[in-house]
Amino acid sequence: MPELRLEHIGKSYRGLPAVTEMEYVFQRGIYGLLGANGAGKTTLLRMIVGVLQPDFGRILCNQQDISHMGGEYRRMLGYLPQEFGYYPNFTIHRYMKYLAELKAVPPELAEERIDETLNKVGLEHQKRQRMKNLSGGMIRRVGIAQALLNDPDILVLDEPTAGLDPRERIRFRNFVSELGRERIVILSSHIVSDIEYIADEILLMRAGKQVESGSLPQVCRKMQGKVWECLESMESARRLNQQFVVSNMKNMEEGNVCVRLLSDRKPVEHAVMAEPGLEDVFLYHMMQ
């Protein structure tokens, strides 16, 4: 069972830090990486898969520096980049064969593995289609399938659910949950509900730094007493929206609005404490 350790890693682009001082240990399970646009998620994941070299610190896999492990480390990897490139003239099948070769999947096993993974993402019938004729969501699914091709111990997925329809999203969640039982799965997403459903551990990033981590209940518990709900008129709801971080506004009958907001103190007299969710945690940290 692999263990992945980040030791104070950092990366800058032309002097501008994208990731700073990240320290974390990944073990078996599903890790959800949450952060606003530009928080440094993609940069971090690229360093984890060895596509980018960190400027500082190092990444250890079972106590070995990954930059010294070379192909041996990449053998354990499955990676879906945020921007997944493909060859428009290739059929899905040819593309998968090419990647099976690159991933050193034994040729006699390749066909079997290809069918298996395409089955997982529901593309078994589109195998002979050219990739330029596929929809964005289908391309994404090919991307997920190729990441699984070599049965990786460390699966890194950068926004895997972007562009997937609800049915595919559910299918994805189900098989990733299963995968997470015996390997490391790291996935980033903007879609809080995806992370909420499947991640065992949540990592919140802001401006290249890790600001919060823990399991869903742990992370939510820290927010206890900071989430409030109150029923307001249109007028005062608008005022509250300017004063506080509002996570939700729902129109109720008689022109009233149910406002859900984040505040360290009780915002108004008649507000009641609410059960915090991951979305509240995300917003709370982003707004600081």
């Binding site: 690229r46 990897l77 060859y87 050193a104």
Partner: protein, 387 residues
């Protein structure tokens, strides 16, 4: 083994561009057809045209085959006279040549007809003979029917020049398209992505370049032999290539010349593939990389030789610097660099350079190619071009 074939498949999946190689072959055919249809020869009052002109010339040349002597030259002039241009009635511009292969060869090479445009009065005319004619005797030229080989030689160079442009277009996407398509993200995270696959990509590109070179070479060879026959292969290459004549050794045969130019042209293609791969690994945009590469491919070498070298030579002569050791060393270095460019290798310019230069050129090519292969791998592996 399998990986490089897949990489080759990726390179070849460009139907429009593959057509380019076909075009070069069609172009070769066309030029040959043009050449043959315009052929005309005149032997003892008989006029032959087209293929039969070639056959007649070939048969005639057999009479004079072997070591070329002053006696043979005089016999030819006596029998056919010198060969000028035929002036059709009422025409101002010169038309086709008079005479046949033998009389044309004597006129062109032993006299100053090509400079003056007027038929000389006699064969041995003082200065001209000493400068031109004499060297053919000194170098112990083996006379033979080399018309076809001369033709093959120049068309081959042109074909390789075109081929190199095609190679740039085919090979440039090898790395740069992985960047622009963003497939590099996936590739670099695979087991072989940072190692075996890089070599597979380069090997596929090299195989493509070499195979295409062999295809156009053999195609041209087949055309030449079909039209001109294989005679004259053991004659002296100095018959048509003055650079072979200028070599220090005794004049080489057409076959030896063929093998040496083959080496030079093959080196040109390999060097081109390596340098193109280097550009490819440096650029995210394939189109701009192609433009940059094409500028560096021919114009750069040409300017280096025709402008920089000439200017430097003039300057050094004027200032007397040429007499210093470092003066001519600088010129030699520049000359060697020019000879090692794809452009001049395609022209097989190394044929004419001194023997010790050839060794340096070989070493230089080896070093440059190895260095560019290594740099290419480093550039790609680093992943700096990932956006």
């Amino acid at each position: 083994m399998r990986l490089w074939k897949m990489e080759l498949y990726k390179i070849l999946r460009r139907p429009v561009l593959n057509f380019g190689l076909f075009l070069i072959m069609v172009f070769q055919c066309f030029i040959f057809w043009m050449d043959v249809s315009g052929k005309q020869t005149e032997i003892d009052g008989n006029i032959y045209k087209g293929i039969s002109a070639i056959q007649a010339d070939r048969a005639l040349t057999e009479d004079y085959e072997g070591l070329f002597t002053l006696n043979k030259a005089e016999q030819i002039v006596e029998r056919f006279g010198f060969s000028g241009y035929k002036m059709e009635r009422g025409q101002k511009v010169p038309g086709i040549r008079e005479g046949n292969f033998c009389s044309q060869w004597v006129t062109d090479n032993l006299t100053d007809f090509n400079d003056t445009g007027t038929k000389p009065a006699a064969l041995k005319e003082g200065e001209v003979w000493k400068e031109r004619g004499q060297q053919y005797l000194d170098k112990k030229i083996q006379f033979g029917y080399t018309e076809g080989w001369a033709y093959f030689h120049s068309l081959w160079s042109w074909s390789v020049l075109f081929l190199n442009v095609w190679v740039v277009l085919m090979v440039m996407p090898v790395f740069s398209e992985e960047y622009s398509r963003k497939t590099v993200n996936v590739l670099l995270a695979t087991v072989h992505g940072k190692g075996k696959d890089i070599w597979a990509k380069m090997w596929a590109a090299l195989v493509l370049g070499i195979a295409a070179f062999l295809v156009i070479t053999f195609w041209l060879l087949i055309l030449t032999v079909a039209v001109y026959g294989a005679t004259g292969i053991d004659a002296s290459a100095g018959m048509f290539d003055y650079r072979a004549l200028a070599m220090e050794s005794e004049s080489i045969t057409v076959l030896e010349h063929l093998l040496q130019t083959f080496g030079a042209k093959l080196a040109a293609v390999c060097l081109n593939v390596c340098m193109t791969l280097l550009f490819s690994s440096k650029c995210r945009n394939t189109a701009s990389a192609v433009v940059l590469r094409l500028v560096s491919l021919y114009p750069f070498a040409w300017v280096l030789n025709e402008v920089v070298y000439s200017l430097l030579l003039d300057m050094m002569y004027d200032s007397g610097m040429i007499h210093y050791l470092w003066g001519w060393i600088t010129l030699d270095i520049l000359g060697i660099i020019c000879s090692s460019t794809t452009y001049y290798l395609s022209w097989s310019a190394v044929i004419g350079v001194p023997q010790n230069w050839k060794i340096i050129v070989k070493i230089l090519l080896f070093v440059v190619m190895s260095a560019s292969i290594w740099r290419t791998a480093v550039n790609y592996r680093k992943g700096n071009k990932i956006s």
